[in-house]
């Protein structure tokens, strides 16, 4: 075979690999729609918000308690994890002596890699019984928030850490020359400069929290419930899919794919938000 032809074949092989990888996303979206179609056509859209409950066998498909569960758990975890994560990164960069900063950074990196099922398991054996001592049943929104916080904290800390590293060093030198205190430097100069990176960190962490399944499934109690307090059990959209997918058929199965679509929409919205925050910066 002539080398010209071999090069031609190579190019086409590479193109088809890339095509396959690139169309995967569309295949996923397509299949979510195909599987959700029976529910979208048989059940009026308002049913997913106005039905009296989630009893798929009886034809009641109210997804809003699960939606609320997802939103509350995500919001709670973000409120706790954002300051902790950002301050962790501040600690690493501007407060800790190098002998402390390096192991601390390694610890955070390690935690970013711990599987969600292990976080969930730890929550189940440690956090849930601990909460149950004070406010039974223990498996609750609060347990979910605590475990989710631990899971997204490394994400926030690592991205914040990376964006602090990009702050030009002459900013720091100027601040030092002006005699600014350490905290003033951090609060007035570092944080505003690193803001786009911090927003990216928060958006990515939000995505991780919304999409998280195992950890919340294991610690939240999974009662379909619009929570009145943090001690009540909740069920998130993701947990709902994981719990019922195994036996769901017909409209029920389709309704689960509708909740998958709802998740997809939230994630896509977040990705668009993240790109806005980055000012359409092209990645290298």
């Amino acid at each position: 075979m002539s080398r010209w032809r071999r090069d031609k074949i190579l190019l086409w092989a590479l193109r088809s690999c890339a095509c396959l990888a690139g169309t995967l996303l569309f295949l996923i979206v397509l299949f979510l729609f195909i599987e959700a179609a029976p529910a979208l056509s048989n059940i009026a859209f308002t049913h997913f918000i106005t039905d009296t409950g989630w009893h798929p066998v009886e034809g009641l498909y109210n997804l809003s308690p699960m939606l609320m569960g997802t939103l509350w758990a995500t919001l709670g975890a973000l409120l706790v994890a954002t300051p902790l994560g950002v301050l962790s990164a501040v600690f690493c960069h501007y407060y800790a002596p190098p002998a402390v900063a390096t192991p601390y950074r390694r610890l955070i990196e390690l935690l970013a890699g711990i599987p969600s099922v292990v976080y969930g398991f730890w929550g189940l054996v440690m956090v849930v019984p601990f909460i149950a001592q004070y406010q039974p049943p223990g498996a609750s929104l609060l347990a979910g928030i605590i475990v989710l916080t631990l899971m997204i904290l490394p994400t926030i800390a690592l991205i914040a850490d990376a964006s602090f590293a990009n702050v030009p060093s002459h900013y720091l030198h100027s601040a030092a020359a002006l005699g600014l205190s350490r905290w003033t430097t951090v609060a007035q100069i570092i944080l505003p400069t690193a803001k786009p990176g911090l927003i990216t960190a928060i958006v990515l962490a939000t995505g991780r929290a919304i999409g998280e399944t195992m950890a919340v499934l294991m610690v939240c109690g999974n009662v379909v419930n619009a929570p009145q307090s943090v001690f009540e059990p909740i069920r998130t959209l993701t947990a709902n899919i994981a719990l019922e997918m195994a036996y769901a058929v017909g409209n029920h199965r389709a309704a689960l794919f509708v909740s998958g679509l709802a998740l997809l929409i939230m994630i896509v919205a977040l990705i668009i938000l993240a790109e806005r925050a980055n000012g359409h910066r092209q990645h290298a």
């Binding site: 690999c17 962790s88 610890l107």
Partner: protein
Amino acid sequence: MRDALAVSRSKNHLATAVVWTVAIVVSASFLLLISNIVWEGMGQISWTFLTDTPRNAGREGGIAPILVSTLLILAVCIAVSVPIGLGAAILLAEYSSDQHRFGRFIRRSLDVLAGMPSIIIGLFGNAFFCITLGLGFSILSGGLTLACMVLPIFIRAAEEGFRAVPDAYRHNAAALGLSQVTTLYHVLLPVALPAVVVGLILGIGRALAETAALIFTSGYVDRMPGSLLDSGRALSVHIFDLSMNVPGGERNAYGAALVLLILLLTINLMTHWIMRRFFRSRSVSP
């Protein structure tokens, strides 16, 4: 003036205290988590635990078939994602510039795919591999589903690797009259290999940690798998099942969790080792 200075100074001290407290609280809670798993898991792990079959719904016995299923799922995932991912990465790095529309489209689509929650990938895997392709709840379905999650990570890392190869290499190969296939195989691939391997290891780490996408693609069956079309339970699914559905399964769940953590830690260390071994030396030279 002096008051303002005093206020600012005490604010600074307060901030220092807060930052240190946060660092201590964060590291304490994480050390608590890790030490708990290690402490409780140590008592469970033994040679028999690794080589025995689970008995009594997993309360007793070991995790041998689960380890085998996990490895098979990973093998399927790697066998599918390496060739496709490598091809896509080479195309993106070597044959499409940043402005090229086709390349940009694929990069964007992969970026979005990387952010997809695993449960959505799991829904897709169930609908496409298990039902549409008729593979059922099987190791094959599970591995293919994981490949969807690993591809974007792997491609990104491999692409960076190829991009980091200096242009001089390509020019020299062209000047020597080497064909593109030869250039790729004998010049570019060897240089980009460490980055490709790092990408692969990162992907394996992600796949090993995954649970949600596997529950309804590779299934729950904890017997030793006979073929790739059998259902097989992954290690992470085993931890989930023992702790949620099996009362009294906690002790063995600790053991399985520690095994999983050790595997992931090994992978983490391997990545660091390769990075340090191959990248630091090169980044100095132009």
